[in-house]
């Protein structure tokens, strides 16, 4: 067999089918934005335009910006009956019905209250059960309510009657109801845990079930959801067997499942239809499916690397709102998907080579005359896409005919069809016929070689001369016949030289002038004959000069105006005749001042890629220029890369960035025509909110008293397409002459308005600035004051006196009662303390006895443990001392320099140096002390010193010991870090301790805490999460005649089963060799026997461990 290995590889090349993926955009609304809980069980839009979300904990009303949350409140019977929401339904009289775990509710908008309905045991004229799972309304206005375990209830609101249907009193196939819908013909269909039912008459149900052999057989009887589409098919979701489609004639059932490859997952909990008639199915675990008839579905899944992907693969609910947007209830909040509004698509491509994959960073892009798209990645090589597929090229070290480097920054196709490629390391000429790369590089010492290997831009002018702009080496002109370069560089002494050596852009105008943009030096026109450059730079005193010198891109429009995009200074329009610039920045509506690319369309509009999306500048000849802005929400790249843009065939535009590339035709990008309805939602009186519904009477008039003159309106445009881009204006008739344009703010505030009649008007525009000029209005009246009357004063006075008296009386009573309670508590507590004291005395006697028993081996064990832990500590301590010593050296040397400088500088600068000197001396002192404390701690731990007890200040003692332990830990694991919170009680009395032994106890506790937290951190990190932050809390306090010392970590805790054993000798949870198993046991002995104290451990698994030591003072 022939082996491929024997073939000499000249260059690396892969032929593949185009691997390009279009990125979808799901917008997210999660708990972070205010959603009451993450699992969204049901979604509905009410007749006024609000979207409601039911979650496992709370009901949410969404107004395109935020939610109002409704929850059950046990002490308030006007709240919802339970916070676990199961289903939502709006009846034809515009009442919102809510099914919960504890009964049925409807929401009274006028009072913002809920009215509850529940099962009354023994009463047949009530709900059959309280766990409501589904609802619909039949043509007679009767509500059909499904329950989890007790069949269905028909609620006739006119009669006020409840009729229950179960398997006992009807032909219903099961009492476990999952969904109820009304079909187009008014028939009620019921999905149950045991087949599909259709109601044929009161209490009469026909059943469709799994029955092998029958055309009407379901794949499974456990039904989860039902949906009737516009073609009258009924779609039936099942628990484990995909979807069944019951045809419009109700004669046959078709299966759609994972086995046939038509569904990503067989557990389906939600089905809906979009405006184009596509059926969407939400699965549990398999994400969201857009079904394709007879084929594989389009599957949307969560991609942790992509912000705008589906937020979770468990989809519980689906809903289509009036504008055609899909609302997706997941385990992680709501996603909003609206294909129709995506005016752009981001196509992500990546290198094929496995080691370079996961890289969508496109740094250069160009379409050649054969319509091949050339894509250059940062550190990912070159990719060419044409009708046949895609090819990838990478550098292959040592071969002269391969690409010179994998980071690609520029392209140029010359008149011969050669593709010139600028890389991080060298210029390449790619000949498509031979498939070979010719590489040009800088040769040190050869002035005719390329001046710099970092090639940023390449340009062929009308005379077919090839210009190469480098990053740092200026401009080069290549003589193709000799392969030699002429280079132009900046000469600081020559004002007519190239203004900078980092060349970012080269172009040519109709008069064959070359224009060159530099990063840092502004831009210039090249006089090729004279080899001179006419330079244009920023002049901070001249607002008509270039806005800044960091030019990133340039473009010429149809009027031969030169547009210059800068880093941080927006864009500049340069008039060649006057030499003046006009600037456009964020202030004028540009999306961001970092401009990465400019293309000009047929209408002479500018398309500008920035660090924050794309802007369109609508130029109109006069000064009335207008911007439109688009960003990733419109389907664009999140951030564009400077220089990565080009014109394509048929007037298409390419802009590339970090997520891939965008291709679009500028003529196809239309303004959103939707006029959003405007509603006034809330009214704040003295900062207390009122829902508009509850205070606006049917007459649409609010009446306010004279005193209520501090109020605020809150309003919204109910447009769910980029609501953050809606803008508002308001006008108070009777007060304002003109509209107040307030941008994206959604409130208007008023104070001290004179009595009178006013009309408050609001209007809004959508994301593209299209105004709904009708808006909405509200009339209100401010009544004149009545407080000038004498009787008013008198009444006030009397009321006040009465209230004061009453208050005094009530307060005295309350204090007396509290006093009694207090007295009783003191007695109880004294009794408690007495028994405790007796207990501890008894224990101390026991301990003394134990001490005697153990005296022999004790000393040896202590010594062994000490040496083991000391060994661990010292290893890294030398290293830790190095850092403070470096600072001491550096700052002292610097101070000497500064002192010298002090003698030479003028007096006004002396002050600055003196303040630096003072800081330095403080730092020297600080780092000196730091080293000192490390050394001290080490000595204290190791010395054989006096075994006698010494009166010791406990807080500084802990501090020193902690430092020692910390540095010891750091020595062994450099990445360790931990926050310490010290709750040190002040004015603690000195405590008698044997310092060297007691420090060992503390070091032990600290070390254990560090280990536990490190372990937890590792575990959490290995799960791909990083949110864990080690936290150690050290507390000292005095309690009676005891000093309490607590060391608490937030590690994984100690399992209950071993908590009793931890003080046993040789018991360890650590790996062999990592712990002696003596640490805690010796600590126990030191504390209890040597110091007559106590040591206890508290722990909760997964959360914390706390050691508490108490010592007698």
């Amino acid at each position: 067999m022939k082996t491929i290995k024997s073939l000499p590889f000249i260059f690396l090349l892969w032929f593949t089918v185009v691997h390009a993926q279009q990125k979808d955009v799901f917008r997210h609304f999660t708990v972070q934005q205010g959603l009451s809980q993450g699992t969204v069980t049901c979604i509905i839009q009410d007749s006024r335009g609000f979207i409601w979300f039911g979650t496992e904990d709370g009901l949410n009303r969404f107004n395109a910006y935020a939610v109002d949350v409704y929850k059950h409140e046990p002490s308030d019977s006007t709240t919802i009956s339970h916070s676990h929401i199961r289903c939502l339904f709006e009846s034809r009289d515009s009442l919102l019905w809510i099914g919960t775990d504890e009964g049925l509710n409807y929401f009274d908008r006028n009072s913002e209250k809920f009215i509850r309905f529940k099962n009354i045991p023994g009463n047949k004229n009530s709900l059959s059960s309280n766990l409501i799972t589904a609802m619909t309304e039949d043509n007679n206005g009767v509500l059909w309510i499904g329950t989890q375990t007790a069949g269905i209830t028909a609620f006739d609101r006119k009669q006020g009657s409840f009729t229950n249907f179960t398997t006992d009193n009807s032909s219903l196939s099961s009492n476990s109801i999952s969904s109820i819908i009304k079909a187009h013909d008014g028939k009620i269909w019921i999905g149950t845990g045991n087949g599909l039912n259709v109601m044929e008459g009161s209490g009469k149900f026909s059943v469709i079930k799994n029955s092998p052999g029958s055309a009407m057989s379901l794949s499974e009887n456990e039904i989860t959801c039902l949906y009737e589409d516009h073609e009258k098919n009924i779609w039936i979701g099942t628990l484990n067997s995909g979807i069944n489609k019951l045809n419009a004639g109700r004669t046959s059932v078709e299966r759609i499942d994972a086995e046939s490859g038509h569904l990503s997952q067989n557990t389906v909990f939600s089905i809906t239809e979009d405006n184009n008639g596509n059926i969407w199915a939400g699965t549990i675990g398999g994400g969201l499916n857009k079904l394709v008839e007879g084929g594989a579905p389009v599957v949307f899944r969560n991609d942790p690397m992509y912000l705008s992907s589906l937020s979770n693969n468990d989809v519980w609910s689906l809903y289509r709102s009036n504008t055609g947007a899909l609302w997706i209830g997941t385990r992680n909040g709501v996603d909003i998907y609206n294909d129709a509004i995506l005016r752009f698509k981001t196509i992500s491509v990546e290198p094929e080579q496995p080691s370079l994959k996961n890289n969508n960073n496109i740094y250069s892009i160009r379409e050649d005359h054969l319509k091949t798209l050339w894509i250059g990645f940062l550190a990912g090589g070159l990719m060419a896409i044409d009708a046949n597929g895609s090819r990838h090229y990478y550098t292959s070290d040592g071969s002269s005919n391969s690409l010179s480097n994998n980071s690609i920054f520029s392209f140029c196709e010359d008149h011969n069809g050669i593709i010139w490629i600028g890389t991080y390391d060298g210029l390449n000429a790619f000949d498509r016929k031979t498939g070979k790369f010719t590489v040009y590089r800088n040769i040190p010492g050869d002035p005719t070689s390329l001046s710099n290997n970092y090639v940023k831009c390449i340009f062929e002018d009308s005379r077919q001369q090839l210009w190469i702009g480098t990053f740092g080496g200026g401009l080069n002109l290549l003589d193709r016949t000799t392969g030699k370069f002429i280079s132009f560089k900046n000469n600081p002494q020559d004002a007519a030289s190239l203004p900078g050596n980092v060349i970012t852009s080269i172009l040519e105008d109709k008069q064959s002038n070359l224009w060159i943009g530099t990063y840092g030096g502004g831009f210039c026109r090249m006089d090729a004959a004279q080899k001179k450059f006419e330079v244009h730079r920023n002049n901070s005193a001249d607002l008509q000069s270039l806005s800044n010198n960091f030019v990133q891109c340039m473009a010429l429009d149809k009027n031969e105006t030169l547009w210059i995009g800068t880093y941080g200074g927006g864009i500049n329009a340069f008039s060649k005749s006057t030499g003046k610039m006009a600037r456009f920045t964020e202030r004028d509506g540009l999306s961001n001042n970092v401009v990465n690319g400019i293309l000009v369309d047929e209408k002479n509009y500018l398309w500008i890629s920035t660090n924050k999306g794309l802007s369109k500048l609508i130029t109109s000849g006069d000064s009335k220029n207008e911007f439109r802005v688009y960003d990733y929400n419109d389907g664009l790249n999140n951030r564009f890369i400077p220089g990565a843009f080009c014109y394509g065939d048929n007037g298409n535009f390419y802009f590339a960035g970090e997520d891939g590339y965008n291709i679009f035709h500028p003529g196809n990008i239309q303004d959103n025509p939707y006029l959003p309805p405007v509603v006034i939602t809330k009214f704040y009186l003295f900062e207390k909110p009122y829902y508009m519904d509850t205070i606006v009477t049917s007459k649409n008039v609010i009446t306010l008293t004279y005193k209520q003159n501090y109020f605020l309106f809150e309003f919204e445009a109910l447009n769910y397409v980029f609501p953050e881009k809606n803008k508002y204006a308001y006008k108070m008739d009777g007060l304002d002459k003109d509209w107040n344009y307030i941008g994206t703010r959604r409130t208007a505030q008023f104070t001290d308005i004179d009595p009178g009649v006013y009309t408050f008007r609001v209007k809004a525009c959508n994301n593209d600035g299209v105004w709904n000029d009708t808006g909405t209005a509200l009339t209100f009246v401010i009544r004149p004051p009545f407080w000038k009357t004498w009787w008013f004063y008198a009444l006030c006075g009397l009321t006040f006196a009465g209230a004061t008296l009453l208050y005094i009386r009530l307060r005295t009573k309350a204090i007396l009662r509290q006093y009694e309670i207090l007295e009783k508590r003191v007695e109880e507590r004294t009794e408690q303390l007495k028994t405790e004291k007796e207990k501890s005395e008894q224990k101390s006697v026991e301990l003394e006895k134990a001490l005697k028993d153990l005296s022999g081996t004790q000393e040896q064990l202590i010594q062994a443990e000490k040496m083991a832990s000391l060994g661990q500590l010292t290893a890294g301590i030398a290293h830790e001392i190095q850092n403070p010593l470096n600072f001491v050296n550096n700052f002292s040397e610097l101070s000497v320099d500064l002192l010298h400088e002090l003698q030479t500088v003028p007096p006004n600068e002396q002050e600055l140096i003196i303040s630096d000197l003072m800081q330095n001396l403080e730092k020297i002192n600080h780092h000196g002390k730091r080293a000192d404390s490390i050394v001290k701690g080490m000595l204290m731990h190791s010395r054989q010193g006096s075994p006698d007890k010494q009166a010791t200040e406990i807080n500084p003692f802990i501090e020193e010991t902690y430092n020692l332990a910390y540095h010891g830990k750091k020595a062994n694991s450099v990445s360790f870090n931990c926050e310490v919170v010290r709750h040190f009680s002040k004015n603690l009395p000195p405590v008698n301790i044997v310092q060297q032994n007691f420090s060992r106890v503390l070091i032990n506790l600290f070390n254990n805490a560090f280990d536990a937290m490190t372990e937890k951190e590792m575990r959490i990190r290995s799960n791909g999460k990083t949110e864990f932050k080690p936290l150690l809390t050290v507390t000292t306090e005095q309690s009676g005649k005891k000093l309490i010392l607590k060391v608490k970590d937030n590690g994984d805790g100690i399992p209950d089963v071993i908590r009793d054993k931890i003080f046993n000798p040789f018991f360890t949870t650590k790996q062999t060799g990592k712990g002696t198993g003596l640490g805690l046991s010796i600590s126990y002995d030191i504390v209890t026997k040597e110091h007559q104290g106590e040591i206890k451990v508290f722990s909760k698994q997964g959360e914390f461990t706390e050691f508490v030591i108490s010592l007698p003072v």
Partner: protein, 127 residues
């Protein structure tokens, strides 16, 4: 202007560098930035403009992401940045690792600022 990103968990490094390079900073030769962890440094790099000339000067021994990890990420995500590692005197193991991960250069700790300035001036000549 050349941006210098100094990565070190010791916060006093800021004062030290500002004073050591006070003349160069005053002359507008270098634009110093500081990160106190590898994570912070990567965040800074992400916000950079691809045209920026940047020298990253990173300590190795840091809590969280170590300097070596930072070096590895930087070489992968921002291959055009120059990374100079600060290694402790005689720490051959880290030196070898850093070399393997593609460090542009090394300075030994305690930092000799005269040597460091020379290295930075070299970088300046390319721009």
């Amino acid at each position: 202007m050349i941006k210098i990103l100094v990565v070190d968990d010791e916060t006093d490094i800021v004062m030290l560098f500002r004073q050591q390079f006070r003349k160069e900073i005053r002359a507008g030769e270098f634009d110093f930035h500081f990160a106190h962890s590898g994570e912070q440094a990567l965040q800074f790099m992400r916000a950079l403009n691809p045209f920026d000339i940047v020298l990253v000067l990173s300590d190795i021994n840091m809590p969280g992401m170590t300097g070596l990890e930072l070096l590895r990420h930087t070489r992968q995500l921002f291959p055009t940045l120059k990374v100079v590692m600060v290694t402790a005197y005689g720490d051959q193991k880290n030196y070898d690792e850093a070399l393997r991960f593609g460090a542009s250069d090394f300075v030994t700790k305690p930092v000799d600022f005269i040597v460091l300035k020379e290295k930075m001036q070299q970088l300046k000549t390319v721009s």
